[in-house]
């Protein structure tokens, strides 16, 4: 703030000298204690509770309902049936390509191998053949585990090198007989599976939430031990670090490669 601007303020324009124009405060009384003070206090408290309760309901019940839109998959897909029928189980449709990339959800050209014509009685199959196979259109599947554009995820690293089970991230979807409702966050466009079914973000199974922190947790564990967890893990980690400092040749503690965080560097999972 500079002097010149302050002086531009209208107060600089000759304050009025006339007494009449000058506003002077009038003496006033201090507030009188109100009558029925206790009653008023209770009312105020009641309203506080009301507001408190209302906001809890809005925040915990109404808000999640508003936040997510519910969408139904274009075709009600039966995983269990397909797994049983397909020769190579899951890998029949979800396989690695030669370049190491993962096929993900199969395209219509893959489905046609079996469903060029209607095979059975299922009305969903009929719908599928009629609306997509015959029209040569891809099915606009809603992907529960869709990656954001900023993420690079190597299925090969996790499934082949680290030998992780699909279930760890995707849950027992292979056993499902029908597609569940896809919930999409109206603000972010993310699948609800990312934040977790539970609005508070608490998860019981590893696949129930797939935020960056969930990746990071696992990557931190990998850096120390694969089986231990919690306190035990941090204790052994401390111990290993001490040993590694004393005898660097005997034990090497794998620190993450990031200079900033000492976790795995950002470019491991981001693109």
């Amino acid at each position: 703030m500079s002097a010149s601007e302050e002086q531009n303020s209208p107060e600089a324009e000759a304050p009025d000298e006339e007494e009449m124009d000058v506003e002077t405060s009038e003496p006033i009384e201090p507030l009188k204690p109100e009558e029925g003070k206790n009653g008023a206090g209770a009312t105020i408290f009641l309203f506080f509770i009301l507001g408190f309760a209302a906001s809890l309901i809005v925040g915990w019940v109404v808000f999640p309902k508003l936040l997510y839109s519910k969408k139904i998959q274009p075709i009600n897909f039966n995983h269990a049936l397909h797994v049983a029928e397909a020769a190579e189980g899951c890998e029949s449709c979800h396989y690695f390509r030669e370049d190491g990339s993962f096929s993900g959800v199969p395209t219509i050209s893959h489905c046609i191998e079996c469903h060029e014509n209607v095979n059975g009685e299922d009305p969903e199959e009929k719908k599928f053949v009629r609306e997509y196979v015959e029209a040569g259109k891809e099915v606009p599947w809603l992907i529960y585990a869709k990656q954001p554009a900023s993420v690079f995820f190597s299925h090969a690293a996790h499934v082949i090198t680290a030998k992780m089970e699909c279930v760890a991230c995707h849950g027992p979807i292979g056993e499902s007989t029908e597609t569940r409702i896809y919930e999409e966050n109206r603000l972010t466009g993310y699948s609800r599976d990312i934040w977790g079914k539970n609005i508070s973000g608490i998860k019981q199974h590893s696949w129930e939430r797939m935020k960056m922190d969930d990746c990071a947790d696992c990557h931190m564990q990998k850096a120390t031990s694969e089986k231990e967890s919690g306190v035990q893990q941090s204790l052994t980690r401390q111990l290993r670090e001490m040993v590694s400092v004393a005898f660097p040749n005997v034990m090497e503690v794998k620190k993450g490669s990031s200079v900033q965080t000492e976790k795995d560097a950002c470019f491991v999972c981001h693109k």
Partner: protein, 761 residues
């Protein structure tokens, strides 16, 4: 109970406290940031299966192999094809930007017919049937009127099956007026025809040369096949080969060369002859070649018994270094030393063709440079100059012309190429347009523009436009809305090179013949049609002998038939080259009257009679246009890999790489020596008015120590009025400021610059 202000406040406070204990504020804060990470208006490219398709780039005559990376049906990246003989993985900025042309806004989406006046940019969408039938009707009319020679076609190239079909169409129709866009090929072809006696392409074994003497050729600025030249240049550097650049301006090639010899522009012929003088005087030439395989070195006697001057006496008499030192601006000692280095080098090679070689030049300059190659005996030698005979894989049945066509063909070419005056020249595009304006010869009623954009890329665009105004019906086959397409009457858009099959003949300047195959990388994105198929369609529509001349069902069928078994190799490897190839030995290399390399230039009429102009008339350059008093400065153009100068304009990626000392906003910079600028009262960044005898333009000043006093330079490739907003109306088209200058002996346009003046704007 009274609900007063305080109760309400209390309710709010309770609500706030409660809200803080719900996920609401935290989730919204988090989600808003996630929203900002996934703004719906920021595109997310879909993932998919990655495949690679090999093809050949068609954006310049360079003919590089490309590998296109696809994700599902989308082409996402063009890369150089590893192992391709031309470019082996390397690729130029334009080639990399091909997808911007494929998917870009400059594409012509469907056949269109002009509404309103020419150049208004108002178009009516029409069907392919209608488009073809319109052209057929128009052509039918002129045939009916017995004026088939009123059809002309201007094309980027005259090689390969598509150009071949077009040329065949013209012949069958009855017109000789097939015209190729000018380039250094015109001059090289003519020089080879005159000196070697063959119709052949110039090949340069630069990779194996030890000393490359470049007369202004942009060795690393797009001359020849650009990427191949870059690789060759790198190889030279790594193997210790030397490059000497003779050029008026410190170009990239000059800066990267081992030695830059600044020269006054337009005096290259004199310098080459002075070097020849030194080489001959000092006996440094290849005695075997000169004595046994060359004619016209010594004085000789023609068929009429007249004594004629030979090359030796020409240069010894006239071109002593001290005689040319002043004119060329190159000191005598430098000329002598350069001549010695050149002649003594193990594998010397002299090349010419200014900048990217996108213009023709005076034949004298090419003859003089080729004479240097002959003197050092590098013709058809390793590391030398190779004459590559047309690798003629196209063997189509003879055309059976009908009477109308035969009559039409009786009329010579409107551009007078091949006429008595310009006997050996094949194409003279500037003369074609001038004759239209002057109404010499006969009127042109229909003009095809196929892969060529004469309204932008020929000198004196105003004159070209005036000529086009006299042509009642212009058909453009362009894939892109270029200047000529914009000024046409009907557009039958071709597929882009990424959507079609096409054979690619030996790229310009390559020392061995190869055929490449352009193939569809993606399915046609718009309602376009292969030019080959359109030609077939029009011929069929015309019926009769026209239809008979095109016995193929489709272009693809024609290509299959033409290439035969080569096609399998092409589909498999991406290119075909002869299993064994070598250029002929000296004894078999020349098909002149003497059967030798000829220094003298003479018309060979087959019965041994030689008629010629004096040798001194041939070995000469041309002056620039304009009088030096009114126009004290010399304007020369320069080429850059970042400024595309062919039948397409700079795609957005390429124009982005242009330096801010070349283009700023919409203003182009003119390069000027600081001393000259000071004399004119101009300083860096100032606006100036550039005037030449042909036109004027507003430019900005860029001081450059790499240019001689009195010379100013303007880039080629800017000043488009068509295409998209990424390129249109940026800078000035050099061709608007320059006119053709005739080479009196060949008729070729030999302009290398123009006189100019620069004043404050």
């Amino acid at each position: 109970m009274k609900i007063d202000r305080r109760s309400f406040l209390s309710f709010i406070v309770g609500g706030a406290a409660g809200t803080a204990l719900t996920p609401l504020p935290w989730k919204i804060t988090d989600d808003l940031s996630i929203w900002s990470q996934n703004w719906p208006w920021t595109p997310v490219p879909p993932n998919g299966e990655v495949t690679f398709v090999n093809s050949v780039c068609r954006l310049c005559p360079g003919g590089c192999g490309i590998t296109v990376r696809k994700v599902d049906a989308r082409a996402v990246k063009i890369e150089g094809m590893d192992g391709y003989p031309v470019n082996d993985g390397g690729i130029c900025p334009l080639g990399l930007s091909g997808l911007q042309l494929l998917y870009g806004p400059t594409r012509i989406p469907y056949p269109m017919k002009r509404k309103g006046n020419r150049g208004d940019g108002k178009w009516e969408k029409i069907s392919w049937e209608k488009a073809v039938s319109e052209v057929v009707t128009k052509l039918g009319e002129i045939r009916k009127n017995n004026r088939p020679h009123g059809l002309a076609c201007i094309s980027e190239s005259d090689r390969g099956t598509v150009a071949g079909l077009m040329a065949r169409f013209m012949s069958a129709f009855g017109s000789q007026n097939f015209i190729r866009q000018p380039s250094m090929e015109d001059s090289y072809e003519l020089a080879l025809y005159l000196m070697h006696g063959i119709r052949a392409e110039a090949g340069f074994d630069i990779e194996n040369a030890a000393f490359v003497l470049s007369f202004g050729s942009g060795v690393i600025e797009g001359w020849g096949s650009p990427v191949r030249m870059f690789r060759a240049n790198s190889k030279l550097i790594k193997t210790g080969g030397k490059v000497v650049q003779i050029e008026a301006r410190l170009s990239k090639s000059a800066a990267k060369s081992d030695k830059w010899i600044p020269i006054n522009p337009g005096t290259e012929t004199a310098l080459a002859l002075a070097m020849a003088h030194v080489i001959i005087k000092e006996g440094l030439y290849n005695k075997d070649f000169i004595e046994n395989h060359a004619f016209g070195f010594e004085d000789w006697t023609d068929g009429q018994g007249n004594k004629q001057q030979g090359f030796k006496s020409l240069v010894t008499a006239t071109y002593a270094p001290e005689n040319v030192a002043e004119a060329t601006g190159v000191e005598k000692a430098v000329i002598v030393s350069l001549a010695r280095h050149f002649a003594r080098a193990s594998k010397p090679l002299a090349i010419c063709g200014r900048g990217q070689g996108r213009t023709s030049s005076a034949i004298g300059e090419f003859l003089a440079v080729q004479a240097l190659n002959a003197l050092v005996g590098n013709i058809n030698q390793e590391g030398g100059f190779h004459a590559i005979s047309d690798n003629d894989y196209i063997d189509w049945p003879e055309i059976e012309t009908d009477q109308i066509a035969s009559n039409g063909l009786q009329n010579g070419r409107l551009d007078e190429a091949g006429s008595e005056n310009y006997a050996s020249v094949r194409y003279l595009p500037h003369r074609f347009f001038e004759n239209i304006i002057a109404e010499t010869g006969y009127p042109i009623q229909v003009l095809f523009a196929a892969g060529a954009n004469p309204l932008y890329s020929l000198p004196d665009t105003k004159a070209v436009k005036a000529a086009l105004d006299k042509v009642p019906f212009i058909v453009s086959f362009s894939s892109f809305m270029d200047e000529t397409a914009q000024y046409s009457d009907i557009i039958l858009p071709d597929h882009t090179y990424l959507e079609r099959y096409e054979d690619v003949p030996t790229p310009i300047g390559l020392q061995k013949p190869i055929i490449g195959l352009t193939r569809p990388v993606v399915s046609p994105q718009l309602d376009t049609k292969h030019l080959g198929d359109v030609i077939l369609g029009i011929a069929k529509g015309l019926g009769g002998s026209m239809a008979q001349a095109f016995p193929w069902k489709s272009y693809e069928a024609c290509l299959e038939k033409t290439l035969g078994r080569k096609l399998d190799t092409l589909l498999d490897k991406g290119y075909w080259s002869p299993a064994v190839f070598s250029v002929p030995e000296w004894i078999k290399a020349f098909e002149t009257a003497s059967g030798k390399f000829e220094f003298v230039v003479s018309d060979q009429d087959g019965n041994g009679d030689r008629k010629t102009k004096p040798i001194a008339d041939w070995y000469t350059g041309v002056e620039s246009q304009g009088d030096p008093v009114t126009y004290p400065l010399l304007l020369i153009p320069y080429d850059s890999m970042r400024l595309v100068n062919g039948f397409v304009g700079d795609p957005p990626f390429v124009i982005k790489t242009v330096e801010d000392t070349v283009l700023k906003g919409k203003d182009v910079f003119i390069e000027i020596n600081p001393k000259t600028a000071k004399q004119l009262g101009l300083s860096e960044g100032k606006y100036a008015r550039l005037t030449t005898p042909k036109g004027n333009a507003k430019v900005r000043v860029h001081l450059f120590e790499g240019i001689k006093e009195g010379i100013i330079a303007l880039p080629r490739g800017l000043g488009h009025t068509a295409y998209d907003s990424y390129i249109a109306d940026k800078g000035v088209n050099y061709n608007e400021l320059i006119g053709a200058v005739y080479d009196p002996v060949s008729g070729l346009d030999a302009a290398w610059g123009i006189r100019a003046k620069l004043g404050k704007a």
